[in-house]
């Protein structure tokens, strides 16, 4: 799924799932690098969402009429 459309909860759930697989050593080294990339992408997305003001959200809230 595209991280931009995910909620924090979904992102964390996916991260947890991947970490569990890594812990259980279910992944071979090739998959491992793929999945670690995905984790870091998801974390980056979450951090950006936390810190970077989304003008989209701001506009929606501003344009909301009473």
């Amino acid at each position: 799924m595209n991280p931009k459309k995910m909620t924090y909860k979904e992102a964390v759930a996916e991260i947890d799932e991947i970490l569990e697989k890594i812990e259980q050593e279910e992944l071979d080294v090739d998959e491992l690098s793929e999945k670690v990339k995905r984790v870091s992408l998801l974390i980056r997305f979450c951090k950006e969402k936390l810190h970077k003001t989304s003008t989209e959200v701001e506009n929606i809230l501003r344009e909301m009429e009473e």
Binding site: V12, L50, K52, T53
Partner: protein, 497 residues
């Protein structure tokens, strides 16, 4: 009757005297505050009412006053004890002096108040409301909602002018970890009798935009710390409890919890505390992200180390294996070399001997064979010559015989052919017609045609008879008589002539 006629002033004076006599001292009265005003001098003017609990109708009404020197003392005492702002809607137990003024009528001058009565009434009301909410099955509903991992989009219900609101917004905007919060204010009156309706109205405005927000906060700060009765409100609590987003309260009272606080998802004491709660929620989430990041890289490096170790071990094992193998091969090789060194000379010697032996044998055998072959060839040659001369003899013999044979056969055949020829000449001579005619036979023709039968011959027919030395012409004079069958031709012949 006429004697009983009084002026209004006289009547009012009489009433005042009667009242003063009857209510010489103070009287404890239970009533509800209806209207309530405080003038510039700090004097308090009230309307006390009695409301029928069944019909909700006002069934008694009286004016009351609290002089400023009393009110100054009484108000804080009441409010700190009850946690409730002194104002309309409260049920109070007050000690009053009944006064009657001829011009202004009766009024009750409040001298003392018993907050315990109000508290008891409030507690009773609260218990009733809580019970009702529980019976409705909504009391825990908002608490059962899951607070989002990061409560980032916040719908605020507050008074736009409230000092607490600005603090709250500033605090969110300037949070230390610079987390981005989105806020939107839904204005509401936060004190007085309009509070509950106003907040319900704000909730209804948020409701259609449920998806745009993570939480709703109801905050009120600074100024009026009291007026909790507005939040011990059934309708309001009912709405808050059932709201689809988690509601966080910061109503600004730290003594008692209002019913709205009780049904809200999370209760904070002040707007500041609400802001801290939201910020810490987001920070906790970020902290978790960092932990995950660290954990993930730890897992990764552990795994990589493990893989590296494995590789290294495998390399070592491989090297050892190769070395061992090479050593073994080397050993084998030197062993073989040694063996070879020892064996080669004797082998060469043996081979040389064999070679010499073979050469010798070959020489011997070769010579013998050539001799044999020559002998054999010579024998063959003489055999062939003998065979040829003998064959030639036989052939010559054959040829001589054949020649003799041929000679004999030719002379015999010649004789035979000559005999056959003279015989044939004889035969030919015998059958010659001329010879036949010579022997006495003749040929008779009639009209140039040979006559073979008597038929067709008649008397007088001219005949020509051929003999070997000439022709005779004649005529048939006699009768033509057929012969007996065997003597036909001689008979005919006999008649001619």
């Amino acid at each position: 009757m006429a004697n009983a006629q009084l002026t209004l002033s006289e009547l009012n004076l009489l009433i005042k005297e009667t009242l003063d006599d009857t209510f010489a001292g103070l009287v404890w009265v239970k009533a509800e505050i209806g209207e309530f005003t405080v003038n510039r001098n700090g004097h308090c003017y009230l309307e006390l009412v009695d409301i029928d609990p069944v019909s909700n109708q006002i069934i008694a009404r009286a004016k009351a006053t609290i002089w400023s020197y009393t009110f100054r003392m009484m108000k804080p005492y009441f409010e700190t004890t009850t946690g409730q702002a002194f104002g309309s809607g409260l049920k109070i137990l007050v000690s009053v002096k009944i006064e009657f003024h001829p011009l202004y009528g009766m009024s009750l001058n409040v001298r003392d108040i018993d907050p315990a009565y109000t508290m008891g009434d409030m507690a009773l009301k609260r218990r009733e409301i809580i019970l009702r909410l529980q019976q409705d099955g909504v009391f825990e509903m908002n608490k059962e909602l899951e607070l989002p991992a990061v409560p980032q989009r916040i719908a605020i219900i507050s008074s736009p002018t409230a000092a607490g609101l600005q603090d709250f917004l500033n605090q969110l905007a300037h949070n230390p970890t610079e987390i981005c919060f989105y806020t939107r204010l839904f204005p509401a009156t936060m004190q007085g009798t309009q509070t509950a309706d106003s907040i319900i109205n704000a909730l209804e405005q948020i409701y259609p935009y449920e998806d745009l927000f993570d939480v709703v906060v109801i905050i009120r700060g600074g100024g009026a710390q009291l007026d909790l009765a507005s939040f011990d409100h059934y309708e309001l609590a009912y709405h808050v409890a059932q709201f689809p987003l988690p509601v966080i309260t910061g109503i600004g009272h730290d003594k008692d919890e209002t019913i709205v606080d009780l049904v809200a998802h999370t209760k904070m004491k002040t707007p500041t505390a609400v802001a801290e709660f939201l910020i810490s929620g987001a920070e906790t989430f970020e902290g978790r992200l960092l932990e995950i990041e660290a954990y993930c890289s730890k897992l990764l490096s552990e795994r990589l180390k493990k893989e590296n170790d494995w590789l290294r071990q495998t390399m070592v094992r491989l090297k050892q294996g190769v070395r061992h193998f090479v050593q073994k091969e080397e050993h084998q090789f030197s062993l073989t070399a040694l063996l070879l060194k020892n064996r080669v000379p004797s082998f060469l010697e043996r081979q040389e001997n064999r070679f010499i032996r073979h050469r010798h044998r070959l020489q011997m055998k070769g010579r013998g064979t050539i001799r044999d072959q020559i002998h054999f060839l010579k024998k063959k040659d003489s055999d062939l010559q003998q065979l040829v001369s003998r064959f030639m003899e036989i052939r010559n013999d054959h040829l001589g015989k054949a020649r003799q044979n041929l000679k004999n056969r030719l002379s015999f055949q010649l004789k035979e052919q000559l005999a056959k020829l003279s015989f044939t000449e004889e035969k030919i001579r015998l059958v010659d017609p001329l010879e036949v005619l010579k022997r006495g036979y003749s040929l008779t023709y009639k009209n140039g045609k040979l006559v073979r039968t008597i038929q067709g011959l008649n008397e007088g027919d001219q005949l020509v008879t051929q003999l070997h030395d000439g022709k005779v012409e004649s005529e048939i004079t006699g009768q033509v008589t057929p012969l007996l069958q065997k003597q036909e031709s001689s008979g005919l012949t006999g008649n001619i002539g």
